[in-house]
C-alpha cells in the first residue's frame, strides 16, 4: 500500500499507508492527520484540504485543473506548489509522496 507523508507547517512528520483510489485528503481524515479540515467533504468547494506538494512530486501527480486552481485562490497562503488534497488520488506511483499542510486552513 502506498505510503504518504503528511508534514505539518512546523515540520512534524506523519507517514501512513493510504489505499490506492482514495484521495490524499481521505487518507488524512482516516488517519486523524491534523491540519486538513476538508469542510466540504471533497466536492472542491471549500479549499480547506490545501497542501503544498514537494517540488519533486509535482510532475508525478495528475496535473491541476482550472476549477481546482480557482478554488486555490481562496486557500490560506497558496503557493506555486499548492494543491487541494481531495483532488490527488493515491496510486502506486505516489508511494512516498510528501505533502505539507499550511499554517492553517482558513
Amino acid at each position: 500500500m502506498p505510503k504518504i507523508t503528511y508534514i505539518t507547517h512546523d515540520g512534524e512528520k506523519n507517514t501512513v499507508e493510504v489505499p490506492t483510489g482514495l484521495s490524499v485528503m481521505e487518507g488524512a481524515l482516516q488517519n486523524n492527520i491534523k491540519g486538513i479540515d476538508a469542510d466540504c467533504g471533497g466536492s472542491m468547494a471549500c479549499a480547506t484540504c490545501h497542501v503544498y506538494v514537494s517540488e519533486n512530486w509535482l510532475n508525478t501527480i495528475e496535473k491541476i485543473h482550472d476549477a481546482e486552481q480557482d478554488m486555490l485562490d481562496m486557500a490560506y497562503e497558496p503557493k506555486k506548489n499548492s494543491r487541494l488534497s481531495c483532488q490527488i488520488i493515491v496510486t502506486n506511483d505516489l508511494d512516498g509522496l510528501e505533502v505539507t499542510t499550511p499554517v492553517k486552513q482558513t
Binding site: D39, A45, D73, M74
Partner: protein, 338 residues
C-alpha cells in the same frame, strides 16, 4: 419572543425539507440562517454546479434545487429569519429558548439543527495586522460604498466579487487589483471590461502578487505586495477590499452542551435527537455509523426528525402516519382545492 413548534437552524436543502416534513404533519416552524438567503452550501458554494444524485431529478444546479424546495414548502408559510446567527440555546420551562445575534428570541419544544458545516463567514486576510484596520480601512464586503470617493483602493481576489467591485469603484476611485496568479476567474464580459479599464488607466492590475505587509500605525497608509519571484512593491492605499470567498465555522454551536465529534453532532438514528432532549441534528452536521454527507440522506433525516418533533409539540395527540397521496388532512395543509 416568537413561539412555535420547531425552530430550524440552517436554511440549506435539509433545513428546507424539514419545513416540508413538519408542515405535512401539521407542525409550524421558524427558520434561522446566518446567510441572507436560503439555500446554504448549494446556493453559496455551487449555485451553478450540476448535482446528479437527487432522486428523480437527473440533473439540477444548487440554485435550481433550492428554488424547487422553496416552492415545495410555500404552502406551509414558514417564517425565515435570515442574516442572523443563533448565539444561545437555553432550556426554560420545558421549552428551548433561542437568542440570535440580532437580539431576536424564539421558543419551541423542538430545535432542529441543520447547520451543515457551520455558518458562513468571510475568509479574512492572513496577516495579523489586518485585524487592526478591519471595518475601518479593511473590508471583506462592501456595505456602504459612499465612503469610497476619490480614494486609493487596493482590491485582492480573482473572482467575480473582486472584479465587479473593481469595476464599480473605478468610476470614482483609483483602483489597484491584486491577484496571486495571472488568470482571473470571472464572466468573459467582466474580464473584457477590466482590460478596457486597465487600458484607460482606471484600474492598475498587479499579478502574480500576494499581500506581504500593511503599513501605518493608527491609520493604514499603504501596503507592500510581493511578486511570485520575491520582488517587493509598495502601494499607497486608503482602503483594502479582500474577496476570498466564504468559510464555514461551527461557531456558537460548540457552546450549547451538545456532544461534538470531529465537528459533527452524534445522533440517535431513530429520531435524530442529539444528547439533549428536543434538540435534533440533521444533514451534514450530524453523524452516526454509516453517515453519508449527501443531500438525499439529509432529506431522510428530516423526515424522521419531524416525526420525533410531533411527540414533543403535541404530547396529548397521537401521531398517525399518512401518505401525501391519500390523506385529506395533508391535502388541506398543502392548500389543495377539493
Amino acid at each position: 419572543m416568537i413561539n412555535t413548534d420547531a425552530i430550524i437552524i440552517g436554511a440549506g436543502p435539509t433545513g428546507l425539507f424539514a419545513v416540508h416534513q413538519l408542515g405535512i404533519i401539521g407542525l409550524k416552524c421558524e427558520v434561522i440562517d446566518n446567510l441572507d438567503r436560503a439555500g446554504g452550501q448549494c446556493i453559496e458554494l455551487y449555485p451553478d454546479k450540476p448535482i446528479y444524485d437527487i432522486p428523480a431529478i437527473p440533473e439540477c444546479t444548487g440554485e435550481e434545487l433550492t428554488n424547487g424546495l422553496l416552492k415545495q414548502i410555500e404552502p406551509f408559510k414558514a417564517n425565515f429569519h435570515l442574516g442572523q446567527r443563533v448565539e444561545e440555546i437555553k432550556k426554560e420551562n420545558n421549552l428551548w429558548v433561542i437568542k440570535t445575534n440580532k437580539g431576536n428570541f424564539f421558543s419551541a419544544p423542538n430545535v432542529i439543527i441543520a447547520g451543515g458545516v457551520g455558518s458562513f463567514e468571510p475568509r479574512k486576510l492572513a496577516l495579523k495586522e489586518a485585524e487592526r484596520f478591519e471595518d475601518s480601512q479593511i473590508f471583506y464586503s462592501v456595505t456602504n460604498k459612499a465612503i469610497f470617493q476619490n480614494k486609493k483602493i487596493s482590491i485582492f481576489g480573482g473572482g467575480d466579487s473582486a472584479l465587479d467591485w473593481a469595476l464599480e469603484l473605478s468610476k470614482s476611485n483609483e483602483i489597484t487589483l491584486i491577484h496571486r496568479r495571472m488568470e482571473f476567474r470571472g464572466a468573459a464580459h467582466t474580464l473584457n471590461e477590466i482590460k478596457q479599464k486597465e487600458k484607460e488607466g482606471k484600474i492598475l492590475i498587479k499579478t502574480p502578487y500576494n499581500l506581504k505587509s500593511i503599513e501605518g500605525a493608527k491609520t493604514m497608509t499603504g501596503i507592500e505586495i510581493e511578486h511570485e519571484n520575491g520582488e517587493l512593491e509598495k502601494i499607497k492605499t486608503d482602503y483594502v477590499l479582500s474577496f476570498f470567498g466564504l468559510i464555514m465555522k461551527l461557531g456558537p454551536i460548540t457552546d450549547w452542551g451538545l456532544n461534538i465529534e470531529k465537528k459533527t453532532i452524534p445522533v440517535d438514528t431513530e429520531t435524530f435527537q442529539t444528547n439533549k432532549q428536543g434538540i435534533f441534528a440533521i444533514g451534514d452536521i450530524c453523524t452516526y455509523p454509516g453517515k453519508l454527507k449527501l443531500i438525499l440522506s439529509g432529506f431522510h433525516e428530516a423526515a424522521l426528525a419531524a416525526r420525533a418533533c410531533f411527540k414533543n409539540a403535541r404530547p396529548n395527540e397521537t401521531y398517525r402516519f399518512e401518505f401525501t397521496t391519500a390523506s385529506k388532512s395533508i391535502h388541506d395543509r398543502l392548500g389543495l382545492k377539493k
